[in-house]
């Protein structure tokens, strides 16, 4: 497990890990409490434990391994409010066998849950700073817990901006919640879509074009970015162009996973395991890995 030790060294001073004493390979049964369709292919599922277990509290940025019985187990970020640990909330886009089956679950169906796993968003390190939350597509759900935390500790942070880009207006997630956030005076919400018909009255253009519009002091700001890797790379470039240093840009990576806890090597990326050393990484620690084609 040489690379395990190496990887641990590499992420020194990176996002904080969260430890749990539960056997990480044990799957716990949960009931589907609610399943809400956000868009034609994306849904939010709310889960409750099927029997009395002590749920390990999750931190913003962490994920669970969700098991659809008989089909398979996949990593999905927790998208709920860390201030309400009673419910487990995940927002998922149906792309393949497991996620499509999950979208068909009904209230009362059972699902297996292992977790929470992985590193967390640097909400402590971000205190006192201006915050930029940059989300592309299905990148908004993994960032939502960080935003919930920041909004419930609003006085601890400077200016806070959410920059969110999707493919079309029909793909926008959490529409009602976005409207509520937009109405707040202590949060700037910028939304853009890549393409739109004439009746859309909002912004059109990629999410990177929102960065110059956001109010922040580049010497004292911190950014959290999630989306497709190309989007994260270009967002990080634009943020750096606006004066943010790479060590104050955090991203969340995705790789295929099996164990979720640093044992199988499935999610290895260069010298790190995405499941254990990530998924949240500091951009300066990952930027070389990012641009290598074979990884």
């Amino acid at each position: 497990m040489g690379s395990n030790i190496e990887s641990s060294k590499m992420v020194q001073n990176g996002p904080e890990r969260v430890h749990s004493d539960k056997d990480p390979m044990l799957t716990y049964p949960y009931y589907v409490q609610r399943l809400r369709h956000e868009t034609h292919d994306t849904f939010t599922i709310e889960l409750r434990p099927a029997r009395a277990v002590e749920m390990t509290p999750f931190s913003p940025g962490q994920f669970n391994m969700l098991y659809v019985f008989g089909l398979g187990e996949i990593p999905i970020s927790i998208s709920g409010d860390p201030g309400n640990q009673e419910r487990l909330i995940h927002t998922t886009r149906a792309v393949g066998a497991v996620t499509k089956a999950m979208m068909k679950l009904k209230r009362g169906n059972m699902i297996g849950v292992r977790g929470p796993f992985g590193t967390k968003w640097p909400v402590k390190e971000a205190m006192g700073r201006d915050i930029l939350i940059v989300a592309g597509g299905i990148g908004l759900p993994p960032l939502r817990p960080a935003l919930y935390h920041i909004l419930s500790h609003r006085k601890d942070y400077g200016k806070v901006s959410l920059l969110y880009g999707t493919r079309t207006p029909e793909d926008i997630l959490y529409i009602k919640e976005l409207e509520k956030w937009r109405a707040r005076l202590d949060l700037e919400v910028f939304i853009t879509v890549d393409r739109a018909k004439g009746d859309w009255r909002g912004n059109v253009g990629v999410v990177t074009t929102l960065i110059p519009k956001a109010p922040f002091d580049p010497d004292n700001a911190l950014a959290m970015v999630v989306g497709p890797e190309v989007m994260m790379r270009f967002s990080a470039l634009e943020l750096q162009k606006r004066g943010l240093t790479a060590d104050r840009i955090y991203i969340s990576m995705e790789r295929n996973m099996k164990c979720g806890v640093g044992l199988c090597g499935h999610c290895q990326l260069g010298g790190v395991f995405v499941c254990k050393d990530g998924p949240v990484f500091r951009f300066d620690q990952m930027k070389d890995v990012f641009t290598k084609r074979e990884l």
């Binding site: 592309g136 493919r167 018909k197 059109v204 074009t209 989306g227 270009f234």
Partner: protein, 151 residues
């Protein structure tokens, strides 16, 4: 008399431009308000103008008979609309329409081209600034074409 000089000098596109150059540009500038729905440019027409948007929102769109107007980009206060005035045959490639009440400084492209010919240091400054905007827009268009959020 109040001139457009301070308005021009405060537009992000002209940030840190030599004040002498700003004075030269003022002679080519007029201030205008566009009502929602009003066109700033129409595809195929002579492009002898460009705009420093002060506030409001402008949509850049292309019209297709099958799909109606398709929005390619939106522009807000602090941004700039139009570089067709720089490139022969000086014709607009897209429609641009005010989505909200929009205040803009309208620049006479012919007038600026002449001033840039007469004063190459102004010409070089303008080219550098437009090159950056064009590069940014090309990059944004490439990302848009990648359809990043598609399956």
């Amino acid at each position: 008399m109040q001139t457009l000089e301070p308005l021009l000098a405060s537009h992000p596109f002209l940030k840190n431009l030599n004040p002498e150059h700003v004075k030269l540009l003022v002679g080519c500038a007029t201030n205008k308000v566009f009502n929602p729905g009003e066109f700033l440019s129409q595809e195929g027409e002579d492009a002898d103008l460009f705009y420093f948007i002060r506030d409001g929102k402008v949509v850049v769109e292309i019209y297709s008979p099958e799909h109606g107007p398709i929005t390619i980009q939106t522009l807000d206060g602090g941004e700039i609309l139009g570089w067709s005035w720089l490139v022969p045959p000086y014709r607009w490639r897209f429609d641009a329409r005010a989505l909200e009440t929009t205040r803009a400084i309208v620049m006479d492209g012919k007038c600026i081209r002449q001033k840039c010919e007469n004063d190459h240091s102004l010409g070089y400054e303008m080219m550098k600034r437009f090159a950056e905007i064009i590069a940014d827009r090309v990059e944004a268009t490439r990302l848009q074409l990648l359809d990043l959020y598609g399956k």
